[in-house]
Symmetry: C2
Protein backbone atom coordinates (compact mmCIF):
# COMPACT_ATOMS: atom_id res chain seq x y z
CA UNK A 1 0.00 0.00 0.00
CA UNK A 2 0.92 3.69 -0.09
CA UNK A 3 0.64 5.90 2.96
CA UNK A 4 -0.02 9.64 2.99
CA UNK A 5 2.67 11.65 4.75
CA UNK A 6 0.98 15.01 4.26
CA UNK A 7 -1.15 17.12 1.92
CA UNK A 8 0.98 19.84 0.32
CA UNK A 9 -1.86 21.81 -1.30
CA UNK A 10 -5.52 21.46 -2.18
CA UNK A 11 -8.10 23.15 -4.37
CA UNK A 12 -11.88 22.98 -4.18
CA UNK A 13 -14.41 23.09 -7.02
CA UNK A 14 -18.15 23.18 -6.36
CA UNK A 15 -18.58 19.40 -6.16
CA UNK A 16 -15.07 17.96 -5.90
CA UNK A 17 -11.48 18.71 -4.97
CA UNK A 18 -7.90 18.04 -6.03
CA UNK A 19 -4.99 17.68 -3.64
CA UNK A 20 -1.26 17.12 -3.87
CA UNK A 21 0.04 14.64 -1.29
CA UNK A 22 3.48 13.38 -0.34
CA UNK A 23 3.19 9.59 0.04
CA UNK A 24 5.41 6.75 1.22
CA UNK A 25 5.58 3.80 -1.24
CA UNK A 26 5.58 0.21 0.01
CA UNK A 27 9.35 0.06 -0.48
CA UNK A 28 9.88 3.06 1.83
CA UNK A 29 10.62 5.61 -0.91
CA UNK A 30 8.57 8.81 -0.99
CA UNK A 31 6.86 10.45 -3.98
CA UNK A 32 4.08 12.93 -4.73
CA UNK A 33 0.58 12.02 -5.89
CA UNK A 34 -2.31 14.18 -7.12
CA UNK A 35 -5.65 12.85 -5.96
CA UNK A 36 -9.03 14.04 -7.22
CA UNK A 37 -11.80 13.43 -4.70
CA UNK A 38 -14.77 13.08 -7.05
CA UNK A 39 -18.43 12.18 -6.45
CA UNK A 40 -19.75 9.02 -8.09
CA UNK A 41 -21.15 9.51 -11.57
CA UNK A 42 -23.71 7.82 -13.82
CA UNK A 43 -23.78 7.42 -17.61
CA UNK A 44 -26.58 6.08 -19.81
CA UNK A 45 -26.76 4.35 -23.20
CA UNK A 46 -30.34 5.45 -24.07
CA UNK A 47 -32.04 3.14 -26.60
CA UNK A 48 -34.84 4.59 -28.74
CA UNK A 49 -35.20 1.02 -30.07
CA UNK A 50 -32.90 -1.98 -30.52
CA UNK A 51 -30.87 -0.22 -33.28
CA UNK A 52 -30.76 3.47 -32.30
CA UNK A 53 -29.40 5.40 -29.34
CA UNK A 54 -29.36 9.05 -28.24
CA UNK A 55 -26.04 10.85 -27.98
CA UNK A 56 -25.08 14.40 -27.04
CA UNK A 57 -22.68 16.90 -28.58
CA UNK A 58 -21.06 19.09 -25.99
CA UNK A 59 -18.04 21.32 -25.55
CA UNK A 60 -15.34 19.81 -23.34
CA UNK A 61 -13.30 22.50 -21.62
CA UNK A 62 -10.44 20.16 -20.61
CA UNK A 63 -9.67 19.15 -24.21
CA UNK A 64 -10.95 22.34 -25.90
CA UNK A 65 -13.21 20.69 -28.42
CA UNK A 66 -16.70 19.36 -29.02
CA UNK A 67 -17.35 15.64 -28.56
CA UNK A 68 -20.08 13.08 -29.22
CA UNK A 69 -20.86 11.14 -26.03
CA UNK A 70 -23.50 9.21 -24.17
CA UNK A 71 -25.32 11.33 -21.52
CA UNK A 72 -23.61 11.36 -18.10
CA UNK A 73 -23.01 13.40 -14.99
CA UNK A 74 -22.04 13.56 -11.33
CA UNK A 75 -24.44 12.44 -8.60
CA UNK A 76 -25.75 15.13 -6.29
CA UNK A 77 -24.92 14.62 -2.59
CA UNK A 78 -26.98 11.67 -1.31
CA UNK A 79 -28.49 10.92 -4.73
CA UNK A 80 -28.78 7.28 -5.82
CA UNK A 81 -26.95 6.52 -9.06
CA UNK A 82 -30.04 5.21 -10.85
CA UNK A 83 -31.86 8.45 -9.96
CA UNK A 84 -28.81 10.40 -11.16
CA UNK A 85 -28.81 8.46 -14.47
CA UNK A 86 -32.48 9.29 -15.12
CA UNK A 87 -31.98 12.93 -14.12
CA UNK A 88 -28.89 13.38 -16.34
CA UNK A 89 -30.67 11.71 -19.27
CA UNK A 90 -33.58 14.12 -18.86
CA UNK A 91 -31.35 17.20 -18.43
CA UNK A 92 -29.08 16.40 -21.36
CA UNK A 93 -31.55 14.97 -23.89
CA UNK A 94 -35.05 15.98 -22.74
CA UNK A 95 -36.09 12.29 -22.58
CA UNK A 96 -37.26 10.20 -19.65
CA UNK A 97 -36.74 6.42 -19.48
CA UNK A 98 -38.97 3.61 -18.24
CA UNK A 99 -36.30 0.87 -17.80
CA UNK A 100 -32.73 1.02 -16.53
CA UNK A 101 -30.26 -1.87 -16.76
CA UNK A 102 -26.91 -1.70 -14.98
CA UNK A 103 -24.14 -2.52 -17.48
CA UNK A 104 -20.85 -1.80 -15.72
CA UNK A 105 -19.08 0.26 -13.06
CA UNK A 106 -15.46 1.33 -13.44
CA UNK A 107 -12.68 3.75 -12.51
CA UNK A 108 -11.95 6.05 -15.46
CA UNK A 109 -8.70 7.59 -14.14
CA UNK A 110 -7.38 5.21 -11.50
CA UNK A 111 -3.98 6.91 -11.38
CA UNK A 112 -5.25 10.17 -9.87
CA UNK A 113 -9.01 10.11 -9.28
CA UNK A 114 -11.38 8.10 -7.10
CA UNK A 115 -14.25 8.74 -9.53
CA UNK A 116 -16.38 5.70 -10.29
CA UNK A 117 -18.78 5.76 -13.24
CA UNK A 118 -21.81 3.49 -13.21
CA UNK A 119 -23.07 2.89 -16.75
CA UNK A 120 -26.66 1.92 -17.54
CA UNK A 121 -28.62 1.02 -20.64
CA UNK A 122 -32.03 2.73 -20.74
CA UNK A 123 -35.17 1.89 -22.73
CA UNK A 124 -38.82 2.94 -22.88
CA UNK A 125 -37.79 6.51 -23.75
CA UNK A 126 -40.32 9.32 -23.93
CA UNK A 127 -39.63 12.89 -25.03
CA UNK A 128 -40.42 15.68 -22.54
CA UNK A 129 -40.52 18.95 -24.48
CA UNK A 130 -38.63 21.86 -22.95
CA UNK A 131 -36.67 19.76 -20.43
CA UNK A 132 -33.24 19.98 -22.01
CA UNK A 133 -30.27 21.82 -20.45
CA UNK A 134 -29.09 24.36 -23.05
CA UNK A 135 -26.05 25.51 -21.01
CA UNK A 136 -24.01 22.34 -21.46
CA UNK A 137 -25.44 20.42 -24.45
CA UNK A 138 -25.28 21.86 -27.95
CA UNK A 139 -27.18 19.09 -29.79
CA UNK A 140 -28.90 15.74 -29.21
CA UNK A 141 -28.36 13.18 -31.99
CA UNK A 142 -29.96 9.86 -32.87
CA UNK A 143 -27.24 7.42 -33.94
CA UNK A 144 -27.41 3.80 -35.15
CA UNK A 145 -25.68 1.47 -32.66
CA UNK A 146 -23.68 -0.18 -35.47
CA UNK A 147 -22.53 3.29 -36.60
CA UNK A 148 -21.35 4.13 -33.07
CA UNK A 149 -19.27 0.95 -33.04
CA UNK A 150 -17.79 1.91 -36.43
CA UNK A 151 -17.00 5.43 -35.17
CA UNK A 152 -15.23 3.91 -32.15
CA UNK A 153 -13.17 1.47 -34.23
CA UNK A 154 -12.27 4.30 -36.63
CA UNK A 155 -11.07 6.37 -33.67
CA UNK A 156 -13.72 9.08 -34.22
CA UNK A 157 -15.32 8.58 -30.81
CA UNK A 158 -12.67 8.82 -28.11
CA UNK A 159 -14.57 9.37 -24.87
CA UNK A 160 -13.80 6.53 -22.45
CA UNK A 161 -17.26 6.04 -20.89
CA UNK A 162 -18.92 5.99 -24.33
CA UNK A 163 -16.48 3.34 -25.57
CA UNK A 164 -17.00 1.22 -22.45
CA UNK A 165 -20.81 1.61 -22.45
CA UNK A 166 -21.13 0.51 -26.08
CA UNK A 167 -18.47 -2.26 -25.87
CA UNK A 168 -19.91 -3.79 -22.72
CA UNK A 169 -23.48 -3.60 -24.00
CA UNK A 170 -22.45 -5.46 -27.18
CA UNK A 171 -20.41 -8.04 -25.23
CA UNK A 172 -23.35 -8.70 -22.89
CA UNK A 173 -25.74 -8.90 -25.83
CA UNK A 174 -23.47 -11.46 -27.53
CA UNK A 175 -23.52 -13.56 -24.35
CA UNK A 176 -27.32 -13.35 -24.09
CA UNK A 177 -27.09 -11.25 -20.91
CA UNK A 178 -29.52 -8.49 -22.02
CA UNK A 179 -32.99 -9.51 -20.74
CA UNK A 180 -35.34 -10.33 -23.66
CA UNK A 181 -37.98 -7.82 -22.49
CA UNK A 182 -35.51 -4.92 -22.31
CA UNK A 183 -36.48 -3.27 -25.63
CA UNK B 1 -17.36 26.60 -26.68
CA UNK B 2 -16.37 27.62 -23.14
CA UNK B 3 -14.02 30.49 -22.47
CA UNK B 4 -11.69 30.85 -19.50
CA UNK B 5 -12.28 34.01 -17.48
CA UNK B 6 -9.45 33.37 -14.99
CA UNK B 7 -7.58 30.70 -13.06
CA UNK B 8 -8.54 30.83 -9.37
CA UNK B 9 -5.89 28.42 -8.07
CA UNK B 10 -3.43 25.84 -9.33
CA UNK B 11 -1.30 23.00 -7.96
CA UNK B 12 1.72 21.34 -9.51
CA UNK B 13 2.83 17.70 -9.26
CA UNK B 14 6.11 16.49 -10.74
CA UNK B 15 4.72 15.79 -14.20
CA UNK B 16 1.30 17.44 -14.30
CA UNK B 17 -0.92 20.10 -12.76
CA UNK B 18 -4.50 20.77 -11.68
CA UNK B 19 -6.17 24.17 -11.86
CA UNK B 20 -9.51 25.67 -10.96
CA UNK B 21 -10.85 28.07 -13.58
CA UNK B 22 -13.88 30.34 -13.83
CA UNK B 23 -15.32 29.85 -17.34
CA UNK B 24 -18.06 31.42 -19.42
CA UNK B 25 -20.47 28.88 -20.99
CA UNK B 26 -21.76 29.32 -24.54
CA UNK B 27 -25.04 30.66 -23.17
CA UNK B 28 -23.21 33.43 -21.26
CA UNK B 29 -23.55 31.87 -17.79
CA UNK B 30 -20.39 31.40 -15.73
CA UNK B 31 -19.28 28.30 -13.81
CA UNK B 32 -16.11 26.75 -12.36
CA UNK B 33 -14.14 23.91 -13.95
CA UNK B 34 -11.22 21.85 -12.63
CA UNK B 35 -8.77 21.01 -15.38
CA UNK B 36 -5.92 18.52 -15.09
CA UNK B 37 -3.09 19.25 -17.51
CA UNK B 38 -1.69 15.75 -17.97
CA UNK B 39 1.03 14.36 -20.26
CA UNK B 40 0.00 11.76 -22.83
CA UNK B 41 0.15 8.17 -21.62
CA UNK B 42 0.63 4.73 -23.12
CA UNK B 43 -0.85 1.36 -22.10
CA UNK B 44 -0.01 -2.12 -23.41
CA UNK B 45 -1.87 -5.42 -23.70
CA UNK B 46 1.23 -7.68 -23.70
CA UNK B 47 0.62 -11.08 -25.34
CA UNK B 48 2.83 -14.01 -24.28
CA UNK B 49 0.95 -15.95 -26.97
CA UNK B 50 -2.52 -15.77 -28.57
CA UNK B 51 -4.26 -16.85 -25.34
CA UNK B 52 -2.25 -15.33 -22.49
CA UNK B 53 -1.39 -11.76 -21.45
CA UNK B 54 0.72 -10.16 -18.71
CA UNK B 55 -1.00 -8.03 -16.10
CA UNK B 56 0.26 -6.13 -13.05
CA UNK B 57 -1.01 -5.88 -9.50
CA UNK B 58 -0.40 -2.48 -7.99
CA UNK B 59 -1.58 -0.26 -5.17
CA UNK B 60 -3.71 2.66 -6.36
CA UNK B 61 -3.46 5.59 -3.98
CA UNK B 62 -6.53 7.41 -5.35
CA UNK B 63 -8.89 4.50 -4.61
CA UNK B 64 -6.93 3.00 -1.68
CA UNK B 65 -6.76 -0.54 -2.97
CA UNK B 66 -4.81 -2.96 -5.11
CA UNK B 67 -5.91 -3.53 -8.71
CA UNK B 68 -5.17 -5.86 -11.62
CA UNK B 69 -4.35 -3.83 -14.75
CA UNK B 70 -2.50 -3.83 -18.02
CA UNK B 71 0.89 -2.04 -17.82
CA UNK B 72 0.73 1.72 -18.47
CA UNK B 73 2.32 5.04 -17.65
CA UNK B 74 2.89 8.68 -18.54
CA UNK B 75 5.24 9.67 -21.35
CA UNK B 76 8.42 11.51 -20.36
CA UNK B 77 8.79 14.99 -21.88
CA UNK B 78 9.48 14.59 -25.60
CA UNK B 79 9.13 10.79 -25.50
CA UNK B 80 7.23 9.07 -28.34
CA UNK B 81 4.28 7.04 -27.15
CA UNK B 82 5.51 3.77 -28.70
CA UNK B 83 8.83 4.25 -26.88
CA UNK B 84 6.89 5.02 -23.70
CA UNK B 85 4.82 1.83 -24.14
CA UNK B 86 7.94 -0.34 -24.47
CA UNK B 87 9.62 1.39 -21.50
CA UNK B 88 6.58 1.05 -19.24
CA UNK B 89 6.19 -2.61 -20.21
CA UNK B 90 9.82 -3.22 -19.30
CA UNK B 91 9.66 -1.25 -16.03
CA UNK B 92 6.43 -2.82 -14.84
CA UNK B 93 6.83 -6.43 -15.99
CA UNK B 94 10.53 -6.93 -16.77
CA UNK B 95 9.67 -7.93 -20.37
CA UNK B 96 10.63 -6.35 -23.67
CA UNK B 97 8.45 -6.64 -26.81
CA UNK B 98 9.35 -7.12 -30.46
CA UNK B 99 6.05 -5.96 -32.05
CA UNK B 100 3.68 -3.12 -31.14
CA UNK B 101 0.24 -2.67 -32.67
CA UNK B 102 -1.77 0.50 -32.00
CA UNK B 103 -5.26 -0.46 -30.81
CA UNK B 104 -6.96 2.75 -29.69
CA UNK B 105 -6.46 6.25 -28.29
CA UNK B 106 -8.99 7.85 -25.96
CA UNK B 107 -9.75 10.41 -23.25
CA UNK B 108 -10.28 8.62 -19.91
CA UNK B 109 -11.69 11.59 -17.94
CA UNK B 110 -12.95 14.07 -20.51
CA UNK B 111 -14.86 16.10 -17.90
CA UNK B 112 -11.75 17.37 -16.11
CA UNK B 113 -8.53 16.06 -17.69
CA UNK B 114 -6.82 16.45 -21.06
CA UNK B 115 -5.06 13.09 -20.60
CA UNK B 116 -5.07 10.89 -23.68
CA UNK B 117 -4.14 7.21 -23.39
CA UNK B 118 -2.77 5.39 -26.42
CA UNK B 119 -3.27 1.64 -26.06
CA UNK B 120 -1.13 -0.93 -27.87
CA UNK B 121 -1.06 -4.70 -28.17
CA UNK B 122 2.48 -6.11 -27.86
CA UNK B 123 3.88 -9.47 -28.94
CA UNK B 124 7.27 -11.15 -29.27
CA UNK B 125 7.85 -10.79 -25.51
CA UNK B 126 11.18 -11.67 -23.91
CA UNK B 127 11.94 -11.66 -20.18
CA UNK B 128 14.79 -9.40 -18.99
CA UNK B 129 15.76 -10.55 -15.48
CA UNK B 130 16.17 -7.79 -12.89
CA UNK B 131 14.47 -5.05 -14.94
CA UNK B 132 11.26 -4.74 -12.98
CA UNK B 133 10.29 -1.65 -10.93
CA UNK B 134 9.64 -2.88 -7.36
CA UNK B 135 8.48 0.53 -6.06
CA UNK B 136 5.15 0.57 -7.90
CA UNK B 137 4.34 -3.01 -8.94
CA UNK B 138 3.67 -5.68 -6.37
CA UNK B 139 3.22 -8.68 -8.72
CA UNK B 140 3.20 -9.59 -12.43
CA UNK B 141 0.57 -12.18 -13.40
CA UNK B 142 -0.03 -14.29 -16.49
CA UNK B 143 -3.78 -14.34 -17.25
CA UNK B 144 -5.77 -16.09 -19.99
CA UNK B 145 -7.42 -13.53 -22.30
CA UNK B 146 -10.81 -15.28 -21.97
CA UNK B 147 -10.46 -15.11 -18.17
CA UNK B 148 -9.77 -11.35 -18.34
CA UNK B 149 -12.96 -10.89 -20.35
CA UNK B 150 -14.87 -12.93 -17.76
CA UNK B 151 -13.39 -10.84 -14.92
CA UNK B 152 -14.50 -7.66 -16.73
CA UNK B 153 -18.04 -8.90 -17.33
CA UNK B 154 -18.25 -10.04 -13.69
CA UNK B 155 -17.20 -6.54 -12.58
CA UNK B 156 -13.96 -7.83 -10.98
CA UNK B 157 -11.71 -5.73 -13.23
CA UNK B 158 -12.79 -2.11 -13.10
CA UNK B 159 -9.87 -0.13 -14.50
CA UNK B 160 -10.99 1.82 -17.57
CA UNK B 161 -7.91 1.42 -19.78
CA UNK B 162 -7.79 -2.34 -19.13
CA UNK B 163 -11.46 -2.71 -20.10
CA UNK B 164 -10.97 -0.65 -23.26
CA UNK B 165 -7.72 -2.40 -24.26
CA UNK B 166 -9.25 -5.86 -23.97
CA UNK B 167 -12.63 -4.91 -25.49
CA UNK B 168 -11.10 -3.16 -28.51
CA UNK B 169 -8.58 -5.94 -29.11
CA UNK B 170 -11.43 -8.50 -29.16
CA UNK B 171 -13.61 -6.30 -31.40
CA UNK B 172 -10.75 -5.81 -33.88
CA UNK B 173 -9.94 -9.53 -33.78
CA UNK B 174 -13.60 -10.35 -34.55
CA UNK B 175 -13.44 -7.99 -37.54
CA UNK B 176 -10.20 -9.55 -38.80
CA UNK B 177 -8.25 -6.36 -38.08
CA UNK B 178 -5.38 -7.99 -36.16
CA UNK B 179 -2.61 -8.72 -38.72
CA UNK B 180 -2.14 -12.50 -39.16
CA UNK B 181 1.60 -12.30 -38.38
CA UNK B 182 1.06 -10.47 -35.07
CA UNK B 183 1.46 -13.49 -32.77
Amino acid sequence: MEEKIRTLSKLYAKHFSAQLDTVRLRTGKTTERIKIDHPEAAAVVPFLDEQRILMVRQWRYAIERETLEIPAGKADPGEDLDVCAIRELKEETGYEAEHLLHLFSYYPAIGYSNEIIRIYAASGLRSLPGEQDVDEISRVEVVELSRVQDLILQGLISDGKTVIGISLFLAKQQRGEIPPGFF
